[in-house]
Amino acid sequence: MTADGAQRLPTASDGLTRHDHDPDVGGHFGRFGGRYMPEALIAAVDEVAAEYDKARQDPTFLAELDRLQRDYAGRPSPVTEARRLSEHAGGATILLKREDLNHTGSHKINNVLGQALLTVRMGKTRVIAETGAGQHGVATATAAALLGLECVVYMGEVDTERQALNVARMRLLGAEVVPVTTGSRTLKDALNEAYRDWVSSVEHTHYVLGTAAGPHPFPMMVRDFHRVIGLEARAQVLASHGRLPDAVLACVGGGSNAIGIFHPFLDDTAVRLVGCEAAGDGVDTGRHAASITGGSPGALHGALTYVLQDEDGQTVESHSISAGLDYPGVGPEHSYLAEIGRAEYVPVTDTEAMDAFRLLCRTEGIIPAIETAHAIAGALRLGRELGPDATLLVNLSGRGDKDVETAARWFEVVDPAALPTTEPVPDDAAAGEREL
């Protein structure tokens, strides 16, 4: 505490300092990561890596990142003790890191501000992004508007039809939204299309990848832009409770919010790191998105990591009620942390997540993103296991405004006829809002 009582917290730029947990020069975390991608894009990712390396040591860049994070995005985000939720979690202390209170409503803005500033630094004038429901698309369109960059967002046609409101948001922010009509016409295919654009446009375009996945340096760089979550939370919990949490929990799709909050705790070996994967209908049903729990190592979208694939290595479609977790891969550092046993990854079904969603709404007055509800469900389970002495830190990665329609259908809280017309099949509703 400083003299005036204000807590001096780490800032976003502290997340970019070099540390012992960086990958090797080729971007490998153990055997995972690397660059499984066309030669045509190697020069581009080399440029991003070189520029990021300079930027992370440049006081001007770091000061600008901190200024935007503070004055524009609203950092630091608070930690809220969930006292009433605790009663449902074996009496364990539950602390919520409130990334839902950031501008645009989730942790996504941390990464997007960093990469947009990097785009300007590289002298590029155009950004592209992939999105499912549009959370990352909206965040990218926001940063592009702020910094005067042209912005094109690729979104599966299935998703653009069902998420018309987020398409409208992006267009209001000045972005072009391109519906992707290939493959399954969802997030995975939006990623493919973004790569195809980048191969043709790399001279003036930066690809703002939405999660800590893809080829090096993205898993490291996106992680670093999100490390502020864990750096702040660690200091906040130490200050308020005088101790470290027993466990840190986060939902894992691509895994950017999870790696952001986990990372500053890696050396605190007594702190358990628990990633909550989307188990959809259940991992044993085959209809899930739990890449680590139910997948196997493979190369997808630029990195060697756990992926959902068939016996011939063809990518298998994922299933989850949660848009943001509905992706058949995961960031390579999570694969590494799972393999060395430093982090554990647990499956949470649609039903468990939605139960936790409702519980958080009714006990704390917070409507979380459905992605985030998976982490809440994990915390409820772990709290009951560990009991009242336990302290659990949960990354409340996003707010649930975007999910109100899905939740209204799930809980049948309104007359279905009053909802916009989409196929009223639960799985279709989920497919309509994918997001890395």
Binding site: Y36, D312, Q314
Partner: protein
């Protein structure tokens, strides 16, 4: 059995280019994916391409996420996958080409090979009479296992170079390559284009400073005239999307295009 006898895949691949060079022309390399429109259909189309004068066939192994391919090839591989094509079908197609006396390499994204087992695929490809692999999303930096397996089974390993490749990467990529280098001539996905990119001659020239290996140029060739144009500066003319488009119209269309392309690489194309 093919006429390759006891010679290794790599030796035969070298001969493909040596023969073309001796005839003072470029080699014609034709791509079609396994399983389009069916496995048997793809065998027939490849045989047609071979008989029309292609020197080397590129058998595409369908993959669910072909990030370097444009709409024509995407559509074809989606059709193949929907039809239930398997990795082993590609080996069977290669075998059918070898049995006909043709030469074939496999063009594949890397994950299906990782899944099959790099060593096992090299072994089975060699046994099927295949000459090597073209790997569009595998750079030598990640290819340690494949470099070893290719050496062990004497298979060609074709890596890609691109207009954006630095001199250093041209050198390291060429050094890891055997058989021939694939020059992806435009910054973009596969697909026939009206004009051959003007970056292609420059890329070939830059690559030649780093290697004596033959250089094949791909991405965008769709006519005999264009094939002739590319043949003036490259050792191999690679045609993919145009053949796949022709395949939509049946075997005769493929034969017609392949014949035109084969004349093109011999400088006998009509037009222009």
């Amino acid at each position: 059995m093919s006429d390759t006898g006891t010679r290794t895949g790599l030796t035969v691949l070298d001969e493909v280019f040596a023969t073309a060079r001796a005839e003072n022309r470029a080699a014609l390399i034709g791509y079609l994916p396994t399983g389009y429109p069916t496995v048997a259909g793809s065998k027939g189309l490849l045989a047609q391409t071979l008989d029309a004068g292609a020197d080397l066939l590129e058998v595409g192994l369908p993959y669910s996420d072909p990030v370097l391919d444009g709409p024509v090839i995407q559509h074809a591989v989606e059709t193949a996958l929907r039809g239930g094509v398997r990795t082993r079908d590609t080996l069977e197609v290669v075998e059918s080409i070898a049995a006909r006396g043709g030469r074939a390499v496999v063009m594949t994204y890397w994950n299906p090979i990782l899944r099959y087992g790099v060593e096992a695929f090299a072994r089975d490809l060699a046994a099927a009479g295949g000459l090597g692999l073209i790997t569009p999303d595998l750079v030598p930096d990640e290819a340690a296992g494949w470099l070893d397996a290719a050496d062990r089974y004497a298979l060609g390993r074709t890596f890609l170079v691109a207009p954006s490749s630095t001199e250093q990467r041209l050198a390291s990529t060429a050094a890891a390559t055997t058989g021939f280098v694939y020059a992806a001539s435009t910054m973009g996905v596969t697909g026939a284009r009206d004009a051959v990119s003007d970056t292609a001659p420059a890329l070939v020239e830059r690559t030649r400073r780093h290697t004596d290996l033959p250089i094949g140029v791909g991405l965008g060739v769709r006519s005999g005239a264009q094939a002739g144009e590319v043949a003036r500066f490259a050792d191999g003319v690679i045609v993919g999307s145009a053949l796949v488009s022709a395949a939509e119209h049946g075997r005769a269309a493929v034969a017609r295009l392949a014949t035109e392309l084969a004349a093109g690489v011999r400088g006998n194309h009509t037009g222009r």
